[in-house]
Symmetry: C2
Subunit: 370 residues, 2 copies
Amino acid sequence: MRIGIIGAGQLGRMMALSGIPLGLQFTMYDRSAEVPGAAVAPIVTGAFDDLRALARFARGVDVMTFDWENVPVASVRAVEKIAPVWPPPRALAIGQDRLREKRLFQRLGIPVAPYAAVNDWHGLQRAIASLGTPGILKTLRLGYDGKGQSPLRQPADAAAAWRQLGGQPLLYERFVRFTREVSLIAARDQGGRIACYPLAENVHELGILAQTRAPFSDAGLQRAAERQAKRLLVELRYVGVLCVEYFVDRGRLVANELAPRVHNSGHWTIEGAETSQFENHIRAIAGMPLGSTRARGHAVMVNLIGRLPPAGKLLGIPGLHWHDYGKSPRPGRKLGHLTQVCATRRDCDRAAAAMRRIAGRRRTTESPLC
Amino acid sequence: MRIGIIGAGQLGRMMALSGIPLGLQFTMYDRSAEVPGAAVAPIVTGAFDDLRALARFARGVDVMTFDWENVPVASVRAVEKIAPVWPPPRALAIGQDRLREKRLFQRLGIPVAPYAAVNDWHGLQRAIASLGTPGILKTLRLGYDGKGQSPLRQPADAAAAWRQLGGQPLLYERFVRFTREVSLIAARDQGGRIACYPLAENVHELGILAQTRAPFSDAGLQRAAERQAKRLLVELRYVGVLCVEYFVDRGRLVANELAPRVHNSGHWTIEGAETSQFENHIRAIAGMPLGSTRARGHAVMVNLIGRLPPAGKLLGIPGLHWHDYGKSPRPGRKLGHLTQVCATRRDCDRAAAAMRRIAGRRRTTESPLC
């Protein structure tokens, strides 16, 4: 069976690395052949809205998926008649629109932060008056890694936020005074069976995921998150891996956003779980049963952003796993990650501190507002 | 850094799958492009004794290794001036000659079964008279997976054995009444640091490895095997992974043979150890430090030989890992393997029984003579 991946970044690369041992073959589609996926699959190049090139690509594969949440939905819908696309294009469309996402969460009884759609300057004023500050103004589309967001500490910040983002559909959201950020990675196979990984705890720095630790180990929140993920997966007739990111606000989950794909906060599963998120995504879209999502211990994952530390220094740390995506360095760019699996959570914290030192980072927590 | 692998079978494929996450690139050389390695690396085709083609291949890579122990030593020596070859060609030469192998074992104080070189029919008669039966007549060269061997239950079997193998350099070896077969996978990096995996216990069927279980968990034998492996690695100025196969005879190790490469009895390390044999081999030849060889629990590996069972049935077993090498079926051919990692040895035995049922095999032990 040949699997086509639209997008050939590090996520596509890690999907192929997990699927090749299953006897599957891969082809990827991206704008350039100089992509991380090129190390493991032939790359077909073309624009993401070139429907003819995409159709040719689709005719050469048995099933398709994507590794990037901003692939145009129209492109995916145009080729899904040629070869099935999983996750379903509807999930992709919802993941690309913060308003549809919020409304779906609400309709399924999944708590979200209070919000209001903002279409003009007066709409922003009304939203601030009704929801108060602090809050965040966000674009509905193309937001990731902290892009397309502007925080408002006080009503007077509205003008600056509007200058930055105004002129496109927006959403104003009351800031959640969260104590933690967690995410759930869940998978659904073609027979409708669902498997969830343990919740992972995430730390963002400057809007980009810096560190993930798993399992988060809160039985009540795990049950709540799994219940919510199941509702989403069933509603969307989902096949593949889905990620839901949450804030933990006074012991309760508040859904922030969903990603209809394998997710950076699930990279720990490569070494830290019985079956990785990548293998389970590929198993699901290839019509195979899901593998066990059991954690192997306590895992910590640290992202390598902007520059890579020397491999020799890192690999000398016993038990450290190094993933270099083969990308050229650039400030703010995710170039690789490190994972360590430990017997206890305390060992994990110590390992994380050592990894961060080597990765050239010091802080472990940062909130965009506090 | 680009690594060239001479031979692009399943071992080369698994080397590349473990090295690509480290940011390394791979090219492979084999007689055909229809090889398991083709899924993960460009293949340069040519005969293994085509020195011009091999030289061209060597010029395109930074360091070379091999995934097959019968690559002609002359070929490797001819290209090692262009790019370094690890493990060293001397180790390859010794692995290809049972007599040199035995003599090296003896010189380093590593116990072997009593043996005699056999060059003609009278030599075989003398060897039988001196060492007795049962015994095994073996070719010095090109023996693997039980090929090039003929067992002698009694002196009268000599004629049949001679008919089968006579006319080439041979060796007669007294049969070791072993209780177990075990193997040690050891690695040495370019700085001379050595790391050994826990001993694994192997079961052969019809001369082909059928099952491996690890760790074997005998502290005394582990110490003895590590001591012996270190002598071999240092003597050979070895870089990369080495496998030594042993019989256990009345509680003592008797060395059977060495393989100067990653080995089928080390496949369990992909899921069952902190760092796989493949990653440690690649780290060593790429000049990186070795990773931890700690076992993650109790692992069992079952080879899939001749035909593959349906993937869906296998993947439904929780915790089972499936490796399909992408080869076409043929009787006696290794097409893939299964691995399961369990908390206890008993769980492992139960898992092994289920895996063997699905793999279509029943027996777990078989000796060529008893």
